[in-house]
């Protein structure tokens, strides 16, 4: 499944994350900004990759601006952004 259009989900409030997706060629590019990057950067990346894989998204750009979201929040925001970016016509 490909990202068809730019879409986003979540917010920049504390404990949330703003996830922006956009179409792109080649491999899935993941860009992470986080208030807990030194502590959780790798874990955040892994979660984004997993959600994308589960949804069959293999190409495009995912940018995460994380404000200390718990893993469940992060996964939900990535899932919503990808759904919004991949569904035909919204």
């Amino acid at each position: 499944m490909n990202i068809l259009r730019a879409a986003s989900a979540g917010t920049l409030e504390s404990s949330d994350a703003l996830v922006m997706v956009s179409p792109g060629e080649g491999e899935l590019a993941i860009d992470i900004e986080s208030v807990v990057l030194p502590q959780f950067g790798a874990v955040i990346r892994q979660a984004v990759e997993e959600v994308a894989r589960e949804m069959g998204v293999t190409a495009g750009i995912v940018r995460v601006n994380d404000r200390g979201a718990l893993e469940c929040t992060l996964r939900a925001r990535v899932e919503t952004a990808l759904l919004r970016g991949t569904e035909a016509g919204t």
Binding site: A9, G10, S14, D16, L70, C72, R77, T80
Partner: protein, 292 residues
């Protein structure tokens, strides 16, 4: 025992992750009014992931879904039923037919997931004039329905009445709801008090609801939970009186009296039943340790 049900906006991670620390007996995770139309999908995903990952202190979860006829209910049911919350809360329920349609769809989803049919209960929100008039039919429409909540804001608007703190405009609806719930043998919860800062008003409102027979009350703010719990817990006076009642019965029997009396008042069956209910509640709430 559910005295307080705390509303938690379904699209707020900060509120969701700490929803269980405020002392509420149950949580209402809200996909309806607390969520903007454009964020319905986001809230649904967030609640889904949160319920899977967090245990919410083991509290019973109620998920408030969007109304029948809205474009969101089907997706809500598809995403929420598999999470096995204690209850879904359908909104703007106006008749038994509404419940039966939702229940049938839930049964299909349960079956498709290999879940036991009927394992997710319903706690409908009654917030229209028609819903109040049909309260008993709704309460007895389906075995899933184990309780009802009165929603006074929408109801007042439906009635064309101004909503007030005194609540005269919902007096009939409150009485009717309690009557219907008791007749159907289900729980009944009162509408939330909407002034977050009026502690005294809340105490009065909750006390009044309890006096009408409500089992508990919803809260829109964590700050309301403690007062609601207090209002719907048996008081020390009630517990002590219930103990006296229970102690008086064997004494009366020993004395061979047909009628037992306590403080000059006859202790008859309804009084004994009430005493038993008070003591059961006290036991559940751990309030019995007050005596010797």
């Amino acid at each position: 025992m559910i005295r307080s049900l705390l509303f938690v906006p379904g699209n707020s991670p900060a509120m969701l992750q700490n929803a269980d620390i405020h002392g509420a007996d149950a949580l209402i995770l809200d996909l309806e009014d607390a969520v903007a139309l454009k964020e319905k999908d986001g809230a649904r995903a967030l609640v889904k992931h949160a319920v899977k990952a967090l245990n919410f202190g083991g509290l019973p979860l109620v998920i408030r879904v969007n109304p029948l006829g809205s474009p969101y209910l089907e997706d809500d049911l598809l995403a929420m039923v598999p999470l096995r919350p204690a209850y879904l809360m359908p909104t703007k329920v106006s008749g038994a037919g509404d419940i039966q349609r939702i229940s049938a769809r839930m049964a299909e989803i349960e079956a498709s997931r290999g879940m036991k049919s009927g394992c997710v209960g319903l706690l409908p929100l009654i917030e229209t004039a028609l819903g109040v008039e049909n309260a008993f039919r709704i309460a007895s429409s389906d075995p899933r329905v184990q309780g009802m909540l009165l929603g006074a804001e929408d109801l007042a608007s439906d009635l064309g009445a101004a909503r007030s703190k005194a609540g005269r405009e919902i007096f009939y609806a409150r009485g009717r709801m309690v009557m219907a719930a008791r007749a159907a043998g289900i729980l009944v919860f009162d509408t939330p008090f909407t002034d977050v800062d009026d502690e005294e008003g809340l105490e009065k409102d909750a006390g009044f609801a309890k006096s009408l027979g409500f089992d508990g009350k919803a809260a829109i703010s964590p700050r309301h939970v403690a007062a609601i719990n207090l209002a719907f817990s048996p008081t020390v006076v009630e517990i002590n009186y219930a103990r006296e009642v229970m102690a008086a019965i064997p004494k009366g029997e020993e004395a061979g009296l047909g009628v037992v009396s306590l403080h000059g008042k006859m202790v008859d069956k309804p009084i004994v039943e009430r005493a038993k209910r008070v003591l059961a509640a006290a036991r559940q709430l751990g309030l019995e340790g007050e005596d010797e």
